[in-house]
Amino acid sequence: MTYVANSLIERAAHVAAVAARHADSVDREGRFPHEARRALADARLFGAMIPKEHGGEGAALSDIAEICCQLAQACASTGMIYAMHQIKASSLIEHGAGAPWHEDFMRRVATEQLLLGSATTEGGIGGDLRNSICAVVTEGERFTLEKNATVISYGADADAILVTARRALEAASSDQVMVVLRKQDYTLEKTSGWDTLGMRGTCSDGYLLKSAGATAQVLPQPFAEIAAQSMLAMAHLLWSSLWFGIASSAFGKAQAFVRAEARRAPGKTPPGALRLAEAGEKLQVMRSTILDGLRRYEEAKAGGDDLGSMSFVLAMNNVKTAASQTMIEVVNLCLMICGIAGYKNDTPFSLGRELRDALSAPIMINNDRILSNSATLLLAHRVEQRLAV
């Protein structure tokens, strides 16, 4: 509670220090970062984005992005868990306002510092979150819902899960809703594990989810709108922000390595310095791209038609594919710079964890899927040819 008086960013820095201490064990053991989660709750950061009238702090997206970035510099899994929580929180905030059940639940998220998980992928769908097989089965004011969720990140440690499903048994596969399930509403039966190359602390196991609840728990707007108006943009922007954290962590190590070399041989520019310049250029492109995306989202939210337009979807798609790809390039360059010291797992310049974590980025909502979506949109949309905004 002592941190509450401090700014969001100061509190995030404290949590990042905790996350950094445990990052290697989280990665090595593929375990959930319990220490960082406790620190996030103590720092009251889970409810940060929830509006003040519902018990939160009404933080701006740019602040949440900065927190993701700081956390990921210390522990990418912690950054990803926090980002995914906030993406779910945004669905509640943007689409639950006005619905008494959801407003009450938002207040609980803020006061009890609940961690929100997500079950959007399903066996038999092939990663396309805009289609569901499972359906909400309603009887009077109650429903039941069963989902073969092939991935629920930190499912075992979440306090609530937001689940997508078809609106009803007779609904089309794309006619989906999103349901908020509290821990007491569901059971999880583990169906697959999460022994992965990187992002090992997100513990994204697969589960058979069985749930029952009140129909008031279903978000009033169709999931199509939730996905289009907040979820996809939030995911692309917050993921990119934490990826920037990974890239800048790697860059920091590479820069320290080059400086150490320069000190050893004064008057000579070390061989890695040129690569560092190249990595610095990419880092700047990445940062500008993300900041521009954040600005565009805030502007679109403030008014106008932009959120539902093709050009907005394309812009967010481009932020995601560009940031994920550029991050990998930066980390690879840093590995070249640090050489064997970067390749080894036990030096101050070790880059194994950054590289393995980075490789998850083009796969999370596969870049090829996003590019083919953009390819379709470009059959219609004409790209901006002016430089002026």
Binding site: R130, A172, S173, S174, D175, P222, A224, E225, A228, D305, G308, S309, M310, S311, V313, N373, T376, L377, L379, A380, H381, R382
Partner: protein
Amino acid sequence: MNETLRRILAQHGKLAVDAASLGETDDLYAAGLTSFATVQLMLAIEDAFDIEIPDRLLNRRTFASLAALESCVAGLVGEKEPA
């Protein structure tokens, strides 16, 4: 125009329901319209009416219902007519 739009919708909309049974204001997204189908729909409409749908109209609202599509197309066809 309504007939043509319904025909295009049946051909390119990939809807879960029969396009002929759609009400004027029925939500096309609820009927299963995806963003991919939206683009196919747009190309077919541009071809059929010899118009270009400008970027400012390429949003969810334009494709939300038959009525919305009709008013979009009517506006663009109107602009084309010599004054």
